[in-house]
Structures are given as C-alpha cells and as structure tokens.
C-alpha cells in the first residue's frame, strides 16, 4: 500500500475511495497457516498462556478435606480455602468484575490489546491447536499442500489424529471448566460411570463443541467477527497507546533486498525488504504494515519475525516495534503518567479493590434480617397492649448449628419479647426463619412508629452476633 498517499488522504473525503481500493477483509475463506518461529514475544506468550494451567489444575487442590476453590452452585456458596462466601455477599462479585474490567481497560489504554494477544483463551487455545497441527501436518507450506492434496491414507491418518487430539483437548477443557463448580473427584468418578446429571452433560457438550469449533475451526474468525471485546478494546486505544506498529518512516519505500547500496546506484529504499515474514507469522493473517487494524490482536509475533530478518540484513531491531502513533509520527511522546485515562481506570480499580477487601474482612459470621408484619401492622390485645409480629431471617455462616438469644434495644417501655423464651436454633449454611412477637402496654406507646433494634447473639460465643434496626408500629396515641 502506498503509505504516503494514505497519510496524505487520511481524513479527507477522497480518502475513503482510497481505502476502498485496499479494502481486504479476512472472511475466513482461506485458512491462515501461520509460521511459528522463536523469539522474545513468543517466549512471553508461552509463559502468559501457561497461566491457563491453573485453570486445569487448581480444582484438584484440597483444603481441610474439601475442594479448596469451589463455586458450589448447588449449595449456593463459594468456597475459597477456609472462606465461605454465601449469596448475600455476592455484591463483592460485582466489584471483582468491575476490577477485572477496569484492569482490562487500563492495560488496553497503556499497551493496546494485551489481553487479546497474551491472555485470551481464544488466542491461547488456538495457539495450542495450531501447535499440534504444526507437529502433525508440518510447516505452513506442507499444510497448504496437504489441504490441496487429494484424499489418501496419509492425509486421512494425519487429519484424523489431529482432530482426535483437538477433541481430546476440547473434552478436557469441558471437564476442567465443570470441576470448578462441583467436586473434582466426584465429577470424574461420575463421568467415568456416565452418570452425570443433565446440566453436567449439557455443560460438557457445550464446552466440547465450543472449544473444538472455535479454537480448531473458526480460530481468528472469532476475534474478527464474534468477539465484542476485540472491538471494545480497539476503540480504547489512543495516539498515546503503545502497540505493535510498523515504523513506516524508516521502512518505506519498501523493496526487495538489493545487492547494490544506494551509493552504488541502487534505488533509494527504506529498511523494509518486503519479505512478508511479518504476514506469514501472523495468526490472524493481517499485514501489520497497513497500520493499526481490527485484525491485529497485538500478539507481538511479527516483532519477533521482523527482528530476526533485521539481524540477517544487519539492520537495527525495531522496524516493527511497540510504539505509539505519536512516536511514529514524530510528535513529542508523553510520559506514561501524563495519560489521565489510565489514572481514572487505576482509581476505579483501587476503589473496587478496597471494596472487596472491606467485604472479605467484614463478612461476619451471622446476618439478621427482620421483616415486620405489614398486615396487620399491629394487633390490640385484650388487655389493651399492642402486639407486633416480626419474621426473623437468620443466616448462620459458621460451620455448625448455633443457638441464639434475642434481645431488643429501644422500642416501647415495658415491652415483652415473645417467641424467644428459650434460645433458638439456627442452621449453618442456610437461612433459618422464626417468628417473634413484641408486646407493649398501650399507654406507653407515644408515637405511631417507634424505632426498635433487635440483636441476636450466639449462646456459645457472644462474639457471633447480628443486629437489625426496624420499627414498632402502634395506633395513633
């Protein structure tokens, strides 16, 4: 592409016609067979993708005889080592999601689609699938040849092995996902006996096909046409964001490597020798030299490829490098701390993090909710006293059943609490509800609504307690 012309016409009306001529969309009609080569970013990518080992292995971790990390949907609780989070504390999940979203945004505003390139499961699984393909079918040119070749035993053998291995990974992915939600060892034994419940089969089959189709067959098409985050992240970069970029000022005009130097009468040309290595290694099949584009997941593999060529032609590294658009255009480059958007993201991250820390340290071991009866608000008894009815809902988050006493603070003078003469049993891990009446002499009631606070307290351990403020309703005095 004529970069100079592109630059001149960018932003003008005639520019759109220029763009049209170069409009080239990867519609998936041709399989991208990317070349794999070692390099700095390849190594980083291997490490970051290896984090997914946690996804496969962590569920087998045990803690006090139970699964260490278990999102126990069936029993509506989340076990994290010795910590148990019940649905009532699930507001922290929203903060966690906020934190993760902001971390994504912050990373994107600083260094573009870091998540896409290094951490995304689509990228990682595709990478592993292609690695297998590379091992079985050979390098890209061999794979292209094999695809075009007529079916014979050799081709069938290779293809069958490849697809079977892919399916094995897909199956294992489904299993590994499932065991975050049910006990891992129970799951395996149930799976082997083919006795999974319906929801278990549906999850497994969904993940099996999801993985096999997306990582094996669709690959970069998912990033191009299915993934919303790919597009969201794309629009969160600005001219200060560093991203894999082709230094067009240095590289253009590109041309095949010449024997003669400029001084010896060769044509003047930039450092790009138009070797297409950057295109050949690209897992999404884009040409980075066309500038920042939708298809680029910023995986950095083209940097490795270009640097290896620069070594061969004895030119400095970095013709394709992590650089901001400002830097490429020769504008003054701002420091990282002059990027206000990143600070806003970091501020939100800290707030969310603080909220989670507060939540986890203030989980409490018991919660109390009191619902005062609305129909009737109060009842006049035969001796003229006024009775209110309260539904107590106690959540005992400890590991065992507890007996609690009920006391009240505030309310009406000489009131009596009925229904809690003896300590009441609360079951652990689920809600317990009981009915409590409060009866007060009619002449002592001074207002229609009197604030009253209830306190429940464990008989065994006074530190396990919970309070709730509500109201005592009476007639107009």
């Amino acid at each position: 592409m004529d970069k100079e012309a592109g630059q001149k016409e960018a932003g003008t009306v005639t520019g759109i016609y220029h763009e049209l001529e170069h409009w080239n969309v990867n519609m998936g009609d041709k399989t991208v067979h990317a070349k794999r080569m070692p390099g700095f970013f390849r190594t980083i990518k291997n490490y970051t993708q290896a984090l997914y080992l946690l996804f496969f292995l962590v569920p087998y971790l045990r803690w006090n005889g139970k699964q260490a990390i278990l999102f126990d949907i069936e029993h509506r609780q989340f076990n994290f080592f010795s910590l148990t989070v019940l649905p009532q504390d699930i507001w922290m999940l929203s903060l966690l999601l906020l934190l993760l979203a902001m971390a994504l945004f912050a990373a994107t505003s600083v260094a573009s689609r870091v998540f896409c390139g290094y951490f995304c499961f689509q990228t990682a699984w595709t990478d592993w699938f292609v690695w297998l393909e590379d091992k079985i079918e050979g390098a890209p040119h061999a794979r292209r040849k094999l695809d075009a070749a007529p079916w014979n035993l050799e081709k069938i053998r290779k293809k069958v092995i490849k697809h079977l291995l892919w399916m094995a990974i897909a199956l294992f992915t489904g299993i590994s996902f499932s065991i975050w939600f049910v006990d891992a060892y129970w799951y395996w034994s149930t799976l082997i006996r083919l006795e999974l419940p319906m929801v278990g089969w549906v999850t497994l089959i969904t993940f099996f096909f999801g993985t096999y189709i997306m990582a094996g067959l669709l690959r970069e098409q998912v990033c191009m046409w299915m993934c919303p985050y790919a597009r969201i992240q794309g629009v969160m970069t600005d001219s200060q964001t560093i991203l894999p970029a082709y230094d067009y000022k240095r590289g253009e005009p590109r041309g095949k490597l010449q024997r003669k130097t400029d001084a010896e009468g060769g044509t003047a040309q930039g450092d790009c020798i138009d070797c297409y290595q950057c295109v050949q290694v690209c897992p999404t099949g884009v040409d980075i030299r066309d500038g920042q584009q939708l298809g680029c997941i910023t995986c950095g593999l083209c940097l490795d490829a270009c640097d290896s060529i620069m070594d061969k032609v004895a030119k400095p590294h970095g013709l394709i490098r992590y650089a901001s658009l400002d830097e490429l255009e020769g504008k003054p480059v701002k420091k990282m701390y002059q990027h206000p958007r990143t600070w806003v993201y970091i501020g939100i991250i800290l707030m969310a993090f603080g909220g989670i820390v507060y939540g986890l340290t203030h989980l409490g071991s018991m919660t109390l909710n009191v619902i005062s009866e609305r129909q009737p608000l109060f009842v006049r008894m035969s001796d003229g006293s006024i009775q209110n009815k309260y539904e107590f809902k106690v959540l005992n988050k400890t590991g065992h059943d507890l007996f609690v006493t009920v006391t009240a603070e505030g309310g009406v003078k000489d009131q009596v609490i009925l229904g809690a003469e003896k300590p009441l049993l609360t079951h652990h891990g689920r809600g317990t509800s009981f009915t409590i009446f409060v009866r007060a002499p009619g002449e002592n009631i001074k207002k229609e609504v009197t604030p009253i606070g209830f306190r429940i307290q464990s008989v065994e351990d006074p530190l396990i307690a919970a309070e709730y403020k509500t109201r005592f309703n009476g007639p107009k005095p």
Binding site: V379, M381, G384, T435, F437
Partner: protein
Amino acid sequence: MSEKHDAPGIPTTGHVWDDDLADLTNPPPKWWMLGLAASALFCVVYFIYYPSFPISSTGSFTKGIGGWTAIKEMEADKGEVDAVRGKFETRLKGLTPAAILADSELTEYVKRSGKVLFGDNCAACHGQNGIGTHDKQGLFAPILNDDDWLYGGKIEEIHASIENGRQGMMMAGKDMLSATEIDTLANAVAKGQPNATPLFAEKGCTGCHGPDGKGIQAMGSANLTDKVWRFDSSVEGIKYTISYGVNSGDPKARVAVMPNFKEAGKLSDAELKKLAVYVYKFGGGQADAPAASKAPEAGVAK
C-alpha cells in the same frame, strides 16, 4: 422485454413496470430453502404427534399419537409439588392439631402452606392474615390475631370452631328495656365496667356474660371488660347491639355466623387441622398450661 439490468443472465419474473423496472427471480439461498423444508416437515410431525385438528362433525379433535394433553402435563407438574409436600402431609394425617403444633418442622410447613387454604376459605370474612373485615355493623368477623377468643383460643378449641362452625346469640333488648336503661347499660359497658350499674345483674345480662361480665366461653358470650370489641366500641354501637341483639331474629339484629366447615364437606380432616394450626400461629393462640387465667375472654356481643 428489455434485459437492461446490471445482473445479466438472471431471469426476471416477466413483469415490467414504468417501462424498465423488473423483478429478478433469484432463488433463495440453499440454507433458507432447507429451513423452509424443515419447518414444513416439523409441522407435519407436530400435527401427527400432538392434538391438532378439530373435527366438527363429532365435536371432537384429532388426539395425536403422542397422547399428550394439557391436563396430563398439569397433573405431572402437580405430582412434583405433591411429592415435596407428601412427606409432611402423610405425617399430618395421623396427628392431632396439638401434636402438629408440638412439631416445629410441621408447624413451619403449615405456616407456609396454610396461606392458600386460609385465603380460599376464611379470608372472605376474617380478612387476609386474619385482620378481620368490617361492614356497616362494625367488625363483621372477629380478628384472629389477638388473644381474645369467644370460644377459646386453645388449639383444640380453635379446631372445634372451624369444624363445627359458630353462631352467636344475643336477645334483642329493645322490648324489655327502656331507652334510659339501654343508655345506662351501654355507657357502663363502654367503660369496660358492666357491673357499675345494678341493671347488668337485674336485667339478666349476667346469665350469658357471667357475673363479672367476662363472658362464658361455653356460650361464646363476649368478655365485656377487656379492650377487644366484637362489633363496635362506641356507646351508639353498644346501644344498637343491646337493642337489636345478635342473630336474634330481629331484622336489624347484628349477624355473627360462621359456617360448619366439616359439614360443608369442602375441606378434608387434614386441611381442617392445618387451618387450626395456621390460625393459632397468628399470634393469639393460647397454650394449655396458663389457660385458666386468661382463656375465658369471650363474647359474641360486647
């Protein structure tokens, strides 16, 4: 017809409008045609499997080979609910209401499941949650949340009231008492001290309401000394009750009738027991032990 369109080779429908407008007859995409065929096939299978066509001559319809009916599906769903309730319901059947009350799990079950039963059978007069209903005579049916019971607030007594129904009875006093006497009596009763006037004993009120005016539970007569009123607490309202009575046959008499639910046959024994426990748990139910001092606070008219 001119073939002057920029998609040459594709036939048109043959209709031409405005000299040169024509419709191409592009076939729909293959996936679309497959979808159409599949939908048509689905219809055929559906019509064979499920009830579908009305047959007007017999007033019936095709039954379908699957044997599906909405009633069957509903019964199956009901079966699921019944299975959950079943273990409680079976235990309920063999127990007395008092025994149900003694079992906290069963009591909890009745408190949760009795709402519909109460709403269907009792709330029309006693109000949702037993808050009572009012009409022009004042309180139409008693409040069930308080601790004042005409016929007793122990669990067996509540059960008996629901099973057999109740009918209040008070003579109309307008022909036996003078206007002044009615006025004196009404004022004394309104203050909660019926014995403040000798008329209370002289005119035979004590016959039903007891010598102390606290009512006699066996007769369902009202306690005239407490703070809970059966019909109306105003002096005018009390005068009205004394004048025309309750269910006295006088056309202006107050009405206090609760039907016999056992005889009506609408409710099963278990349901009657559940209702007794449900009502007891409104907050006014009386335990057996200290009943002697508090129980007889009753009365139809006061």
